[in-house]
């Protein structure tokens, strides 16, 4: 069997391996970006279809997951091309609202996180997802998105400010709703953690 024929016959196996190894990570990434299960499934499927067509581009196996994230991101952006720019989001952060310590049973679960994420504009959501999900440094984010480093820092700071605000609101609501002793209430009183901006 020729080398070309061997490559062709091994492609399906390779695709299957690729899917089995990475579908969960890619789905999670797609879900964080798109905010819906149906869109995340579509994005994941699209990612692997494109990956299958461009399998020959893969040079370094240990960077496959980064390559797949890039395909997902590009597909997401293309799908959003026909949407309006996101509405202005209030990024103002009242530091007094942030509790010093979040309760262990803080109800800020992944759904609440997603709803806070959905309120961010795409450019902020991309930065923060690349930071938390892919664990990229701000320099790597700047390179990937082809935007200045200062813009990444600024977007990260603002997006994180918004997430903190959402998290703090959830924690405070939870504190207010939870029946607990006076001592507990004292411990959960919000105290400023930093004076910023």
């Amino acid at each position: 069997m020729s080398a070309a024929a061997q490559t062709a016959s091994s492609e399906p196996t390779r695709l299957r391996e690729l899917v089995e190894q990475h579908y969960s990570a890619i789905y999670g990434y797609a879900y964080r970006l798109s905010g819906s299960v149906a869109d995340a499934e579509d994005l994941t499927q699209q990612t692997f279809m494109i990956a299958h067509q461009r399998m020959h581009q893969v040079r370094e196996q240990d960077k496959v997951i980064r390559w797949l994230y890039t395909i997902t991101r590009t597909s997401f952006l293309k799908s959003r091309r026909r949407q309006r720019p996101s509405a202005a989001v209030n990024f103002e952060l009242n530091v007094d609202e942030i509790p010093d310590r979040f309760p262990d049973d803080c109800p800020f679960d992944e759904e609440r996180l997603q709803s806070a994420l959905n309120e961010l504009g795409d450019e902020f959501k991309l930065c923060v997802t690349m930071f938390y999900y892919e664990e990229l440094s701000y320099k790597e984010i700047a390179e990937q998105l082809d935007i200045p480093i200062g813009t990444v820092m600024s977007r990260l700071a603002r997006a994180k400010g918004r997430l903190r605000h959402a998290m703090a609101t959830a924690a405070l609501k939870h504190t207010d709703e939870s029946p607990s002793s006076a001592d507990d209430q004292d411990q959960k009183q919000p105290t400023p953690i930093r004076s910023l901006k």
Binding site: Y27, G28, R82, G150, S154
Partner: protein
Amino acid sequence: MKSEPLHDMIDACRPGHDDLDQPEFSELAQALSEDSKLQRVFARSQEFDTTLRTTFQAVAPPPGFAERLLASLDQFEEEPAVADVETAVEPAKRTSRRWFTVRAGMASLATVAAVVSIWFAMPQQKSTPSDRAVAERVDRWNEDFDEADWQRIADVSSPQDFPAWKPLELRSDDRWQWVLKQRTLCYDLNMTPQENGEIVRLFVSKPTSTEVFPPSPPAGYPSPNGWHVGAWQANGRVYYLAVYAHRDSKLLYSRVIGSRINAA
């Protein structure tokens, strides 16, 4: 020392990584060694990031998704590519009826071409499109970009046609790409300082025989998609300036054209 850049640096430091040891964070490292309050802020930020990262990554695909995905990809592999289908189909024999259709089609095309020629030969009255029409046109262009097609000025020198006006100087970080099948050139300009992901784009196209624009940037018009847009004509080109800011697109637009952009 300004606290804002330091806080931005704190936000850019990933927990569990050696970001703080990097040279670009030396200012933050120095400040942390001297300021116990900042240390507490840093510790809280790292704690927050760790918690959030865990929550961020805790997404499980729905049950059965892997199977559905693999099945759909198998189906994708089995479907022959369009090119394969086309080559597999035998070319149909040309019947006399088909030849009649071809001839009738060619006659219709000739008629249409004649009408078009007469239309273009007639003197056209030029008019200025309404602000709203211009804004909606730019909205459509703004929806038609391919993120992968951007070329950086630093990497590939851009086509000419960028206006020689000082407020709109090209920098190496700026990008460009063709839109509308290479009929319009778009420059994506980085504003200095960078604020809130603001977008400034300049579209350059050739004038048409039916439209005329003012010779210098007008006050502009808000587009349905939240941009502020204005078009003008100079040096045999039509320029469309489109600006987007989260808070106030008009303000940013006036900041750009307020620098007295006059026809060169």
